[in-house]
């Protein structure tokens, strides 16, 4: 049963990705990208990453899609037929994919509890969180307390993105016929 769910999700993800490559109507492409985000959120739940699934569904299928649709409203939604030969991109993609697959030969098998990734700080976080914090959600404890610096950096990144967008698209979006710059 598990195997069926995984197989179905991976198959749908691949079909969606191939559809994004082929289609030239950008409205459909953006919708498919939203579907891709939702399917990957389901895959995250299967992989036991519930916080990540929540965030990916909200951010990928929500905010990213609405921003891309707003851009398409301003920019136009048909793509021109590709004029260049496809040989060079396929070659680059093929070389990169081969190198990556060669790299996975060194990786330990999927899902074993004694993989090196599971043995470093994760057991310490899982053991200490109930005593030191008393909160059940280990991901929140790690995010806000053990790795608080990273979260501070991330808040600063999103703040910077807002400033960048305001500089590019105009701070006075509340005034009727307001001036840009």
């Amino acid at each position: 049963m598990d195997f069926l769910v995984d197989f179905a999700l991976l198959g749908l993800l691949t079909i969606t990705a191939l559809a994004i490559v082929k289609l030239r109507n950008l409205f459909a492409v953006v919708m498919f990208s939203s579907i891709y985000s939702l399917l990957s959120a389901a895959l995250f739940v299967v992989l036991d990453a519930v916080d990540v699934a929540f965030t990916e569904a909200a951010v990928g299928a929500g905010i990213s899609t609405i921003l891309m649709l707003s851009t398409l409203a301003l920019v136009g939604s048909e793509e021109r037929k590709p004029r260049h030969s496809r040989f060079l991109p396929l070659l680059a993609v093929g070389i990169t994919g081969t190198i990556l697959i060669y790299g996975t030969q060194d990786m330990p098998p999927f899902g074993q509890p004694d993989n090196p990734a599971q043995l470093h700080v994760a057991p310490r976080y899982l053991e200490e969180t109930p005593e030191a914090f008393g909160i059940p959600n280990v991901v929140t404890a790690v995010l806000a307390s053990y790795r608080g610096y990273d979260t501070m950096g991330e808040v600063t990144v999103i703040f910077t993105a807002a400033i960048g967008v305001l500089l590019l698209l105009g701070v006075g979006f509340g005034r009727r016929g307001g001036d840009d710059e």
Binding site: D2, L18, E79, V93, Q112, A122, Y125, V138, V165
Partner: protein
Amino acid sequence: MNLLGHFNYWIFILLMMIGFYVLISRGHLVKKIVGLNLFQTSVFILYISIGKIHDGTAPIIIEGDPIYSNPLPHVLILTAIVVGVATTALGLALVVRIKEAYGTVEEDEIHEQDEIHEQDEIHEQGAAL
């Protein structure tokens, strides 16, 4: 996911490469950004799959003594998702401004207009001398 050990990673690498192909082979700027998002999301899936343990459960402490999946990749990818949306927002704002400046968002036409402008400037400098 109890298939052969590395098969999962290969599927995720295939998805990554499809996103990469969209990014480098298409000329429409918005489609490039969609390909970038595809690439990013597939990288997240690969990363999260490293932290999965068979018969594990979500890393939320409950009664009993189950096996918990590794919480550290979840934290790192949470940050990465938010940074990804920040990048997308900024990229799309740039696309809007490019459309207003050049009148098109196809990469080839933008390059042609740039070359024409360069030629005009060279001619102007030659005429001024």
